[in-house]
Point group: D3
Chain length 339, copies 6
């Protein structure tokens, strides 16, 4: 079988730091044949560093050289490029969030179905060994009742890139960071249907002139995205989810938390812990060692390539990524209500 | 000045373990002159043990012997007795929650105002040294954005008393236990007006036949109250509050959490920690020692007696306790929606 | 049903500290009607303190007043008294070790069978909550391969009683202390048949004139028992057991260890930990809470009384206690070989 | 004085990772002049990487170019090559174990004596700083009574090389790994004569089809060596030694333990701790800092070179390595008994 | 031999809490026959509680009934009473400090010599097990170079007694509290002669109106003693000592430190640690267990009684207590210099 | 503005490891144009490695090529070179200590004033983030009372360079190492005037033949500097400072301590902790994150360059460095007194 030819669209940090190395390490199954970037100079430099043959300024010019693309642009362009790729008969792996809005996501999904091509969204937290093991252990948790999700950083607004620009990204800490943990949590719960979403969004931390920030400087005057968000989600099966995410919270320390309490047990993912009770015993279990790939970015790339090659199925189904975007839409809408 | 004469209505565990010893230790300012209980034998025994003069079966018979009463009955009777006491011109300290419903609370409040007597609800968590210190430090937190409240026990449904009986208590883990931490959190926030409340309530843990329970046995068949509850509250000032309470959660360990992240800093009450940032420094502060009374039950009794004697003001204002009951009402109502 | 009448033979520390309080707390099912001791004065004093009716100097005089006896004498007298008790138709609970030798144990067992009465040996470690839970979890360990047993104290020879007297006790640290952990380990393994036993015994620590001792003074010149012992036991099913016990070892700290590594998992009893591996996960589990009676002495007494009353079966079967004594015999014999 | 010319026989992992770098760092005293390997290609590659002049396929061809050889082949070839080297008048440093059997070891020893050349076995654990310091402290332990040896790994069968091949290696976890700790322990004890050895060997962990393994994959069907071993050794001076070694044990965590309890004190090597008692004090001592060479492989190479050059004596005497092999023989023989 | 008759002069906290129970527990060797106090009522009450025969208002009246006295008055009266006691032929145990000044101490010492009676000062820290063990280990420290002494409390001025009254006590934190650790340190050093003393004394912490205090309230206006003191002492043998003591220091936490670094090793007393270096090893040793009496007050009483009865010698020689008072005098004098 | 031209005088470890990289990283503001060293070969090698244009043997030859020099020679040459540089109109950054004696320092200061050029002494500890933050927090400490300074290493005499040579360095542990912490402490105190200094110096640790040393070997026979020093300093404002420094102390572990207790609070610099008390609360605060440059050597270089360029002021004023040298002089003088 010939190797899957892959093109990279947008060659910024995430492309260079995660996706290009991942695909190149899967050298028996795929090859990166092309890169494109609106900044052609940067594209050329990256192509040279990674020894990639074709370089384009316009992503459309790439489609003839590839079987699949990996979209690493600002969120605003996810939908447009995805739809164009499917029109060209090319598989798509797209960075998270799926798009700026659930409406866009639905168009992407329709395009994928019409083209009968693979559409993978890069929620790579699911490929962490802890996440994979947690999924296996959910049977011991039983029916989920309460899920807690925290994706919290203390005073660490990204001081680079376009992260604080709402028109390009669609939002801030929630759409860029919290989305990972939210996706992971709902997947562990079995993607039950959500029925109500309530949320609050804040910008007061990063617009405060004199605040500290650990991750470099940014323009506090043009900052127009959320830096702290809370939400509450109720699901059809009765489960509820308490969500908090922030880039800049005034808290003790950074924290990533996904924990679920069910009828039979509880689980927490970072670190992996399982809480059970039966036969007169309450036991706590933790992971001493987990099999699997250490690098979730690599495991994710392999899942995409293997799916395109017809060997397996996607771990992150696009319908699941759509649900995350629906909830994010609802949270932003709810957060706007009382402003 | 003569001492405040106090009567105790209902002589169960909370009366014997907290209120009677507290009032008796304030012997310069008050004296317990009477007890009553529907179980007259128990009332007599308690009166003998604590050397209290008058014993009654009907609480109404007590009013002539006292200036104030302390109501320690099941929640169902709080409103009725309070209103009767005010009608008799007697001050009232009533155990939490204020009553079964916000509507009842409002009647109690109206009666208090009409009688121009003191109405104190026994939210004694506020009198803990950590809570008092946290209140002093709120200025360094600035405008509150996000509040987290957890009142969580792992498999510890009370195996005694009437706690699992909805008609007598009005609910379970939320109305009996979570209410304390909720009250404390809202007080620290400055009792802003709440505008939306969403919640979920569960009974699946305690009705499961074979479950473990650390605090004795109870009848799983008649159990009809909530044992796990989540809620989300949004306030007029934009702040949001994430609440979770349980008697029986499948979690790592019991946890009492009130933490608030504001514009300028963050605070956590148990243990007391303050997180600030300014002048290029992020500092964490903790309490090495706090002045004040160790026993919150005693501090609370003193505040009630001193208020009745005109020396000070209530720390727990009845309007604040009413707000807690309004929110509890709303959570139970929201929790019923999808069942 | 009338209560089981119990007599206590030998009223030293173990009788006063463990067995008498245990039986007296089971007041619905049994009553201590008699005590005896070769020191009649001491017997009278104990009877008075615990309000026991009959007092005897000769244990034989007690049999008519009791349905069961609890033998708390030096080890030398276990066999003789047990056999006499069965001859008198009385149930027997006898302190560990079962007797001075396996040969004596077999006579006791024969007498019990002939009398058709209960013979329980007081290996109370089995009634600890950790031990009971470990027994339930052995299925996850699979076939046992290697068992480690340590009953180790650092410089703590008992400075009271007859513990250092070989003719009365039959040995020292092994027969008095190590026997508990050895019994527990073999029981968890399922009491497989032992096929070879090799051991070494030492007296050099306590006969050294200037040594330290944390538990009082004893006569180093007359000390004639083992104070440090090692052994190795192979079982019919291929399992092997590494044993070490001491009263006076030069080690970091006291340690009680029973751990078993099997084909599927491993377990350690103090504290309770389970090590498993499957589905690509190696998990460690520990006990957060265990149901059951905290006091193993009480649980043991209840098991004896309930067995005598025909309600249940013995947890510690006399054949199992015999096996422990057989192994102890073999260790002492092996330890003598090279001296 | 001219430099010692050294040849390396077998250029696998241990040669490349330990011995070649060690000898090359001693550049004032020795020079590696030749390498040989049955895989000539590999030998050439290594020679090139390490800039070594001569390369051979047959080890015999090397002898004319060297004063000493370092044997890094599978265990099966240790004896044959050693004897040939001595016949050629060449010093020998041989990887552990000394050979497949004690009988072979004795032939090697005889050949060394006849040739009057140095024979060093690479038990490099003795050159660890903790081991050297422990040896100095043994005077405070006094006469050894009980020695405990554990060389335990949890689910870590080597997934490379020939380690699971009995005909090439003579055994598994004991002969390859446990031998190090056993050698170290007996040396600390002063190499007393052993008088009885009893042991058990297991293969059930690695032949189980679905087991986890942290160190890569191996063929579970052809696996024919021990992966878990216990043994018990009694010495002429009365001391006893409890041994456990495994590659795949179901235990909490990997553990290397050599601890000795003697008449006057106790010692543990990893980390170094000394337990003493005198003058009414029980003291625990630990190492804050130890002088000496950090890399035991380098210290070992230096000891070999210096001995060949007549400057010092061997730390690991071949008679001591023979004793280790005798005990290993006895354990394997004992382990076979009941299979 | 008849028992030593002891009288207690001053029956405050230290008498009731330490000395009376200690002497009464030595019932085979001594008996408390009399108490006196300027507050006769208090003396009578204590005599009744402790069943002591004679009660006096004037201490002089006691001498005929006793062989020895224990002086527990404010410091101001130590010298006068001691001298009177010796004049009456009575042994003396006197609370620390020895007296208000070194000059008074010398008069006491002269009186003791003239009377040929025992004079013991109650520096009971020396009788702590750690202190006794440290003294035994000083040989491993070698010649002392640097000694550090800290007797530090955070905001804990005694809110009772006469501790803040300079005319009665002669000073504050140094003379009352720091003296213990200073005495202990100099004794461990071997009481070398001091040659220069420099010091600083402070009162700013306790005279500050709004300060916190953990040990009750005191009158900040009349407070006229030192609450924080530093000093530096040089000895004839070249050793130097850095001293700090406080009742109210703004520090992390209370700390008692006596540590000595010598030519060969170092030692710290609380907890007991020994630091040595030789043979290429730096070892740290700590106490696992120490023989001896747990209660230093009892060990001290026994040393006094045994000395009076001619069985042993004083552990705290009066010349050593004099040295402590000389240094305290010098510190106070130096502290006054720059005020 | 043109870049500041910098010359490096003395190219040993401190030049290569700290100053050259620091200045070269400030490439927009300065350029190293020259190096000199009495060892011309070494100077050439360094110039080549760091691509520096001019190389000289005599420092005087450098002045025409530079605007500023950085003096990295043995202490003996600090004054002479500094004065020559000012005479040539060149700014000076000089390694600590400022010079061998306070007298020399004063000459340097006079020369600087006369030349109207910058004189910076390299007390880089002040540029650590903890130190900068501590300076900001001193207001919460209030008037300083007691300062503790420890610069202690356990058996770590530098086994390289000229550190143990008194004629070149002027002393040992105090002048080379302790000076940093002393400078930092006095600066935090606000550089109050010192009024008395008492000290002791030792050489017994490093002249002992068999001692251990963690940092290489040195000649114990020619060792003629202090390796352990204590001192006590009293200031005009009443504050006192307890100082201890050592390279070779027999202590538990290395320790760098600067802590100050004032009237209102206390502070400790490593790690940064603040202790306060007010409003009935004693709080401890620690740094979660501090803004600023991680590398104090770089921050220091920037401060020097910016000062030379007229953009800012020195953090380390030469008058402050002079005070440190005055105190060091006094300590050495006091230490000599009793030898």
């Amino acid at each position: 079988m010939s190797k899957l030819r892959i093109g990279i669209i947008g060659v910024g940090g995430i492309a260079q730091g995660r996706h290009i190395p991942a695909f190149q390490s899967l050298k028996d199954d795929c090859v990166i044949t092309a890169v494109s970037d609106v900044n052609l100079e940067r594209a050329k430099e990256v192509a040279e560093n990674f020894q990639i043959t074709h370089v384009f300024e316009q992503y459309q010019d790439m489609f003839s050289e590839v079987d699949a693309v990996c979209i690493c642009t600002p969120n605003k362009f996810h939908a447009e490029i995805t739809i164009a790729a499917f029109a060209a008969g090319v598989h798509v792996m797209c960075e998270k969030p799926m798009a700026l809005s659930a409406a866009e996501c639905e168009e992407m999904l329709a395009a994928a179905k019409k083209a009968n091509k693979t559409l993978k969204i890069a929620y790579h937290y699911r490929f962490m060994k802890n996440a994979q093991a947690a999924k296996k252990l959910m049977g011991q948790v039983g029916t989920p009742l309460v899920t807690r999700v925290q994706a919290l950083r203390r005073r660490k607004v990204p001081g680079w890139g376009v992260f604080t620009n709402k028109s390009l990204q669609g939002g801030g800490s929630l759409i860029d960071y919290g989305c990972h943990l939210l996706d992971l949590a709902i997947w562990l719960m079995g993607n039950p249907k959500h029925i109500t979403v309530s949320g609050s969004t804040y910008q007061a931390l990063s617009t405060k002139p004199e605040g500290t920030n650990e991750w470099g400087a940014f323009d506090r005057k043009t900052f127009d995205v959320d830096d702290h968000v809370t939400a509450y989600i109720k699901f059809e099966n009765g489960a509820s989810l308490l969500l908090e995410t922030s880039w800049a919270a005034n808290i003790l320390e950074d924290k990533e938390l996904v924990s679920i309490s069910g009828v039979d047990g509880g689980i927490s993912v970072f670190p992996l812990e399982l809480y059970t009770e039966k036969d007169g015993m309450q036991l706590n279990s933790s992971a001493a060692w987990l099999a699997g790939e250490e690098d979730p970015g690599l495991a994710q790339a392999k899942n995409f390539v293997d799916t395109c090659l017809g060997r397996t199925e996607l771990v992150v189904k696009p319908e699941e990524a759509l649900q995350v975007s629906q909830i994010i839409d609802d949270i932003y809408r709810s957060g706007e209500e009382f402003k």
